[in-house]
C-alpha cells in the first residue's frame, strides 16, 4: 500500500470518526484537568484553617474614668493604645501600617515612632514620616456590662469614633 492510498483511506473514514475520537479525548482531558484542579483547590483549602486558636480579638480595658484627658495608655499584650484627647476615648492600634512592627509612644515629642523602618505618626495616629502608607488603625470600642471598656481589635472604625 503506498502512501497516497493510505491517505485516501484515512479521509474515507471521514471526519466523523476523527471527531468522535477527538471528543472522547477531550472528555478525558477535561476530566483529568478537572480532577487536578479540584485536588489543587482541596489542597489550598486544607491549608487554610477554619478555627484559629489565636487570642480573642476582643478584650476588656479599665473603666472609662481611668483614662483622664490627655492620657495615652498602652495595653501591651493587645498592641493597643487607649487615648483620651478631650473629645472622648478611642482605641488606637499600635501595629505599624508599614510592616506590622509595634510603635512606641514618645511622650516628649507626642508622636508614635516605629522601630523597624523609622515611620512616625503624630498624636492622632496620622503618618507624618517614613514609609508607613496610612494612619494607624482605630478599633471599635463600647462600654461593657461591667462598666469596663470593651475593645474589638477585629473591627476597624473611622477616626471620629469616640467613647464619650
Amino acid at each position: 500500500m503506498n502512501d497516497n492510498k493510505k491517505e485516501s483511506i484515512i479521509s474515507q473514514i471521514t471526519e466523523k470518526k476523527i471527531s468522535r475520537k477527538k471528543l472522547i479525548s477531550m472528555i478525558g482531558l477535561g476530566a483529568f484537568s478537572a480532577s487536578i484542579f479540584t485536588s489543587l483547590f482541596a489542597a489550598v483549602r486544607f491549608l487554610t484553617p477554619k478555627v484559629l486558636y489565636e487570642p480573642s480579638a476582643k478584650f476588656s480595658a479599665e473603666t472609662p474614668d481611668t483614662y483622664k484627658v490627655g492620657s495615652v495608655e498602652f495595653v501591651s499584650e493587645k498592641k493597643t493604645y487607649l487615648v483620651n484627647d478631650g473629645k472622648g476615648i478611642y482605641a488606637q492600634s499600635a501595629i505599624c501600617t508599614h510592616l506590622g512592627c509595634t510603635v512606641n509612644w514618645q511622650a516628649g515629642e507626642k508622636e508614635y515612632h516605629c522601630p523597624c523602618h523609622g515611620s512616625k505618626f503624630d498624636k492622632d495616629g496620622k503618618n507624618i514620616a517614613g514609609p508607613a502608607p496610612r494612619p494607624l488603625d482605630r478599633y471599635h470600642l463600647i462600654k461593657g456590662k461591667d462598666g469596663r471598656i470593651v475593645v474589638d481589635t477585629g473591627k476597624i472604625v473611622d477616626e471620629n469614633a469616640r467613647l464619650t
Binding site: E54, H98, L99, T102, P115
Partner: protein
C-alpha cells in the same frame, strides 16, 4: 597484609558488591563511574576545559556539598528540636548547652546555610560571567534560578525555628511584606502563617517547609540540574559550543537506534562546530580527586568556624517588644532597605518578582553565542556591565542595611 586485602577483594561477597576490577585501567575506570549509583551522576569522560579549577571554582559542586552537610546536620538537630512555641527555644538552648557537640552541630548547620547562599550566588555569577547560560543551556539557567529561590526559602524558613527575638521579628516583618502582593496579599500572608499572627501555626508551617517540602523540591531540581549539565554537553567551553550546522545530525541519528543511548545532545554539538571537539579525560581520577580535595577543605573551614564562632541566639521571642532596629537576615536586607523607603508593594512584591523574572529571562533576551566559556569576554561588555551594576547595587544596599542602620532605621556609622 596485602594478601588479605587481595583475598577479600576477590571474595564472592566483594565481587557481588563491586562488579569491576581495580580502576587502574580505562575500562575499569569507566565501569567504576558507570556502575556506581552515586558516581554515575558523572559522565565517564569529561572535557579538559571544564576541569580547570579557575574556570568554575567548583562553586556548583561546593553548593551541593554544603547542601549535603545541611541535610546531615539538620537531620541530627531534628532529634532534639521541638517545633512548638513553648518548647522550641528551650530545645535550642538544650542543643547548645547540654547536648554533646550540639553547639558545633547547630553552628555547622547555620554557617553551612549561609555559606550555601553565598556559594549559590557566586556560582550564578560564574555562570553569567562565562556566558555559560547560552544555548543550549538556557533552561538549565532557569532551573538554577528556581534553585536559588529555593535556597533563600530554606534559609528564611529555618530562621524562625529557634523562636528567639531575632527569629520572631525577622519573620513578622518578612511575612508582612507578603501583603505587598496586589489584591490577594492578605490571603497569601494568611496561607503562609496559617493565621493572622506569627504563632504556633506559623511555626509548624515553617518547620514542615524547612525540613521536608523545600529540601525535597531542592533535591529533585538539583538532580534535574546535574542531568541537564550532562545532556547539554558537559561544562561549557569555547570549543564545546553550539553552532547551528548545515548537517542535521538529529535527523541523521534518528535512523540509528543505538544513538538514543550513545548520542546525547553533545554529539550534535561537537558535530556542528567548525572547531575541534574538546579533549576528553577520564573522570576517575581527574575530577574525583578535585572534588574530594574541595570537599575536605570546605569541611575543615566549616568545622573551624563552627568551633570558634557561635550562631546567634537572642532571648525568647516576645511579641510585645519589637527590638530596635529589627533586621531581616542579611540576604534579605537589600529588600528591607528598599522597603524602608517604600511600601510593601515595592520591596515585598514588585522588585523581588521582577528580579526573578528578569533573571529567568536572561538567556532568552539576546540569543547569541558570544563569548561562551570565557570569563568576561570582550564582545559581551554591555551585558557584563548591566549584570555587574545590578549586583553592585544589591551589595551596596545590603552593606548600608547591615552596617549603617541603627534604631528606627536611621543612618548611623558602624563604629
Amino acid at each position: 597484609m596485602n594478601n588479605i586485602i587481595e583475598k577479600l577483594k576477590s571474595s564472592r561477597l566483594a565481587k557481588s558488591i563491586i562488579r569491576h576490577g581495580n580502576p587502574d585501567n580505562d575500562l575499569d575506570r569507566s565501569l567504576l563511574m558507570n556502575n556506581n549509583f552515586f558516581l554515575h551522576l558523572h559522565p565517564v569522560k569529561i572535557n579538559k576545559h571544564g576541569l580547570k579549577f579557575n574556570y568554575t571554582f567548583g562553586l556548583g559542586g561546593i553548593s551541593f556539598f554544603l547542601f549535603l552537610i545541611l541535610v546531615i546536620t539538620g537531620g541530627l538537630l531534628m532529634f532534639y528540636y521541638i517545633p512548638s512555641t513553648e518548647k522550641a527555644y528551650k530545645s535550642v538552648l538544650d542543643i547548645v548547652y547540654t547536648v554533646p557537640y550540639g553547639r558545633i552541630i547547630r553552628n555547622m548547620h547555620r554557617w553551612a546555610a549561609q555559606g550555601m547562599v553565598v556559594a549559590v550566588l557566586l556560582h550564578m555569577c560564574r555562570v553569567f560571567f562565562t556566558g555559560s547560560f547560552k544555548e543550549p543551556r538556557e533552561f538549565n539557567w532557569v532551573i538554577g534560578v528556581f534553585l536559588f529561590v529555593l535556597t533563600l526559602g530554606l534559609s528564611f524558613t529555618g530562621y524562625l525555628l529557634p523562636w528567639d527575638q531575632l527569629a520572631f521579628w525577622a519573620i513578622t516583618v518578612g511575612s508582612d511584606m507578603a501583603k505587598g502582593v496586589p489584591i490577594i496579599g492578605e490571603e497569601v500572608r494568611f496561607l503562609l502563617l496559617g493565621g493572622n499572627i506569627v504563632d504556633q501555626n506559623a511555626l509548624i508551617r515553617f518547620y514542615t517547609l524547612h525540613v521536608f517540602i523545600l529540601p525535597a523540591l531542592a533535591v529533585i531540581l538539583m538532580f534535574v540540574h546535574f542531568w541537564r549539565v550532562r545532556k547539554d554537553g558537559g561544562i561549557s567551553s569555547p570549543k564545546n559550543t553550539y553552532i547551528n550546522s548545515s548537517v542535521n545530525t538529529e535527523k541523521e541519528s534518528q535512523k540509528k537506534t543505538y544513538t538514543l543511548m550513545t548520542a546525547p545532545k553533545n554529539l550534535k554539538i561537537t558535530y556542528g562546530t567548525d572547531k575541534e571537539p574538546d579533549e576528553l579525560v577520564m573522570t576517575y581520577p581527574n575530577l574525583l580527586i578535585m572534588e574530594i580535595i574541595a570537599g575536605v577543605i570546605v569541611f575543615l573551614l566549616l568545622l573551624l568556624m563552627s568551633v570558634y564562632f557561635n550562631a546567634p541566639l537572642e532571648e525568647l521571642a516576645n511579641p510585645l517588644k519589637t527590638p530596635n532596629p529589627a533586621k531581616s537576615p542579611w540576604y534579605f536586607i537589600a529588600l528591607q532597605e528598599i522597603v524602608s523607603h517604600t511600601t510593601a508593594f515595592w520591596g515585598g512584591f514588585f522588585i523581588p518578582a521582577a528580579a526573578i523574572i528578569i533573571l529567568m529571562a536572561v538567556p532568552y533576551i539576546k540569543p547569541d553565542h558570544n563569548g561562551v566559556g570565557v570569563w568576561f569576554a570582550r564582545e559581551r561588555k554591555k551585558e557584563l556591565i548591566v549584570f555587574a551594576s545590578a549586583l553592585g547595587l544589591a551589595i551596596l544596599l545590603t552593606i548600608i542595611g547591615q552596617y549603617f542602620r541603627g534604631p528606627g532605621w536611621s543612618f548611623v556609622l558602624p563604629f
